[in-house]
Symmetry: C2
Subunit: 362 residues, 2 copies
């Protein structure tokens, strides 16, 4: 726009400057000209203020102010070879568990001077891979990932290129990657054990594709608990997805069942699923929680407490997860990613009304 503009005599004096302000955003060179110093000096003012005398520093800062100069990050990181950015890939930003963790990670990252790029893989291996591509093109410093598909090869390749990864909410043999996770097997055990302890025997596990490690581990833990009671059984209900909606679908199926085949204790792989199941049961008024069937979720998101029937859950330390993930990544960056560490947190049972003991037979 406004490309034609004769150099007539009507032009105002500070024209060149005006042009610059309008057209292009000022570069370090423009600042150098304005302040009548060399570009290197401007750079020093920005990066090593001690190396510059007060007098010139003032001049340069004034010029920066006047031109409204903003560093071009692309140029910086081209020179530096890497960005000041950390990639974070989570399976579902709609899940408060992940947003909570992401927030903690972001806070920790900002403290150490990095920004966090957040990607939502939506439980989709393809999207996940796309994000890895994107982050690789961006030359992120490192990657935090709560993987959905099988990404070990890709992460290995990244690491060979000097981009370390930390697995989040997923344990790894420390030989290949650092990781920070919560003991899902123990959590699954806790949940099922609690249902058994309150008298339930016909348990059901509701969980997305078992190909997801977390789901598999939680199920495994539950199986372990159930195996301790010979008269107990565990049915597995596959939910496609880990959302409230998916939970509602499973709930609708359950509602159609007769009381004899209804599980008397339901363990959902996360709170979203549990709330979905709860919605179905509550809406149809066919069965009551916890009288007809107990319900326990996983993650202990904020909304579990304020659910129709306050939801029992397994609490994970989201803040600690996010913070530690960043710390581990920082370690890898310093040590040159030679050694890896795995931090495993322990989950915690939170009992609420959805599993309270009832006057119960067997």
């Amino acid at each position: 726009m406004s490309g034609v503009h004769h150099q007539g005599p009507a032009c105002q004096r500070p024209m060149a400057q005006q042009w610059r302000n309008m057209n292009r955003t000022a570069s370090i060179k423009d600042v150098a000209n304005q302040a009548r110093v060399a570009v290197g000096t401007v750079s020093n003012v920005l990066n090593y203020p001690d190396r510059v005398s007060q007098r010139t520093k003032d001049r340069v800062l004034a010029a920066i102010e006047e031109l409204g100069f903003i560093r071009n990050d692309a140029a910086r990181q081209l020179r530096a070879g890497h960005s000041r950015t950390i990639g974070l890939i989570v399976p579902d930003v709609g899940n408060p568990f992940y947003t909570s963790m992401a927030r903690a990670a972001e806070t920790a990252a900002v403290l150490q001077g990095s920004a966090v790029l957040l990607g939502d893989s939506s439980q989709d291996a393809g999207r996940e891979s796309n994000y890895i591509d994107l982050f690789q093109e961006q030359r992120v410093q490192g990657l935090l990932i709560s993987p959905v598909g099988d990404v070990t090869d890709r992460l290995q390749a990244l690491r060979d290129r000097g981009i370390p990864s930390v697995l989040v909410d997923r344990s790894a043999d420390a030989s290949s990657f650092s990781s920070v996770s919560v003991d899902d097997d123990a959590g699954g055990y806790l949940a099922a054990r609690h249902l058994l302890d309150t008298g339930r025997r016909r348990l059901a596990f509701v969980g997305g594709p078992v190909s997801i490690q977390q789901v598999a581990d939680r199920l495994h833990g539950a199986r372990r608990a159930v195996a301790e009671n010979p008269d107990a059984s565990l049915e597995v209900l596959d939910s496609d997805g880990q959302t409230v909606l998916a939970g509602r679908r499973v709930g609708n199926d359950l509602v159609g069942r007769g009381p004899q085949v209804l599980p008397d204790g339901i363990f959902c792989a996360n709170d979203l699923l549990a709330l979905g199941v709860m919605q179905s049961l509550a809406m149809t008024h066919t069965y009551r929680i916890p009288e007809d069937t107990a319900l326990i979720g996983y993650d202990d998101i904020d909304f579990a407490e304020s659910a129709v029937v306050p939801l029992s859950s397994i609490r994970q330390p989201t803040e600690a997860l996010g913070r530690t993930a960043i710390e581990l990544l920082a370690e890898e960056l310093e040590t040159g990613s030679s050694a890896h560490r795995s931090v495993i947190f322990t989950p915690e049972l939170v009992v609420r009304h959805s599993t309270s003991r009832t006057i119960f037979g067997s």
Copy 2:
């Protein structure tokens, strides 16, 4: 690891190559060498495949594959002058309303070939400003922002530099910016009108600092409704913050009141606050919802439906908001941000049990 490696005769043949793989990530130049073509040709293969003959294209692609070449985005955007990224600043990623919108925006952006950088200002004008700085350094294509502080000046400056902004969830006079929003005044009216229609007269509005536009508008709408009933009153309870926790604090205050001074209808500026209030009331068992006081929220997040007492709310079209915001931004980018548009959606009342009519005097 493996830093020392004498050039003894035991070395394998493709050593130079091996070094390259280990050390540096391959550049377009390396690819050019490997494929025995000029750098420009490689670039053409990547950007204008039609300009290159099949033969050389094959050679280049093979080289890319072999070296594991990954474009360096920093270099690209240094040359291009801008990134392929859109900045999005929201006040609270813990609020499902915003994540939902962000997701919609992200989806729409990916379709048009851009990535979205998500920033959480945490309702803090300082953080908000920091994100604007960051995005400006990153030379984002454009900015979607749900502003907390007064950012008009900054956005104006950005626009002058060719970076357009779209205000999200906040209307603007179309003279300066495009915006996409929901009529908050109408929403506030809807909510208060509904409480009045179901017999409530002593209303309370719970909302964060009124300095936030959305809060102010919703309150204004509520006032408008209340003014229509001479015997109705509206009390304003300031919550510091818009979170579940803030709501719980307000709720605890309410619980301490005698029944005469307890509002019989509470309108919270968003669902998080409402759920917090609900938690307090439910935990102490002092007052019941909706018998002693009705409760209505705003946003209609997924969790409203599965609350202890299913929460009435005002629904906003989050998907449409996010999608439209990206569309408006795309328009600005095409037209050179000359003209601006404001899209205003209409909110919708969703009635659930938390406001159901009770056997009630006047």
